[in-house]
Symmetry: C2
């Protein structure tokens, strides 16, 4: 769409609320398109990557992981935060896949970008499709606990359609990978 | 999966960092499955709804909206936060669709649940498919600026595959609606 969109908000003031390990919270004041002002509570995040790792047999690698905010063990594709803002995203994807699952991959394609919650977070997750897999040893961080398993890509699609997989990046990445590969 | 998963983290302490209009930020200390402790920075959110509103001609209603955290105008389906924790989600979906687009709908189906960022937010978005549409007047909040348009569902799927739609809930809801309806 190339038409003019008068929708932009301009920052007037920014207050730092919290500078944590994962979340950087700001409370900003913005000027709206009509000249009025409003408050925007915003998370700054380093960014992340997530990977659909597809075997020659059409299976993908999944993880079961406890997610403290929702107090549930959920099914997700391998994923991880960038080490620092601006880190090479493909390098991060290769690292996270190997650390969490032990797998390396010969072929990497970008499946797309994913903004999980653009209303209040600047996080961008780059989604990858990895093929030509080789199994090695996994190397979890000390505070990381997760179970790794594989299942057919088509079964994971069905679990998404049935509402059994609720994780956002996992739904997007698997549905896009299935449209590309199945 | 019914096997035992020893993955749970137990809250030891919780510190309130910020209690804002949209974001409630906590810094909790948890006990890991191995008995060690770790910090979890967590957003509490009221929850939200998002709607794929599909016309009889196979078009869906989309919005262009400026998202301050990412400083971009992006394409999204109609969506909005619950007014309060525990609000009836279908009622919220009907309200948000009418406020933002002017449309009401005769038929509502749940497309699924979406956890945008389960690593650090408890937000859950319920995704709906609305059909049997009737056009009325829209009633935006004072600080809400967005442009509404329609396009074929199939075109929106292609824009997702081409990486032109990056909003998470929008990607999930459209891909699921297309698998169900196209």
């Amino acid at each position: 769409m190339e038409y003019t969109e008068n929708l932009e908000e301009k920052m007037i003031a920014s207050e730092e609320i919290f500078d944590g390990e994962v979340l950087h919270v700001l409370k900003d004041t913005v000027e709206l398109p009509n000249g009025a002002s409003a408050t925007r509570e915003t998370i700054r995040h380093k960014g992340a990557v997530a990977i659909v790792a597809l075997t020659e047999e059409g299976e993908i690698i999944l993880e079961r992981q406890f997610r403290y905010p929702i107090a549930q063990v959920i099914t997700e594709i391998p994923a991880g935060k960038l080490d620092h803002i601006g880190e090479d995203r493909l390098a991060a994807a290769k690292r996270e896949l190997e650390e969490e699952t032990g797998f390396t991959a010969d072929n990497w394609q970008v499946l797309g970008e994913y903004h999980p919650a653009a209303a209040y977070s600047d996080e961008k997750i780059t989604l990858y499709l990895a093929t030509g897999l080789h199994q090695g040893e996994r190397h979890l961080d000390d505070d990381e606990f997760l179970n790794v398993f594989t299942e057919p890509l088509a079964d994971a699609v069905q679990e998404i359609m049935d509402g059994k997989i609720t994780d956002g990046k996992t739904q997007v990445a698997i549905l896009k990978a299935a449209k590309r590969c199945l």
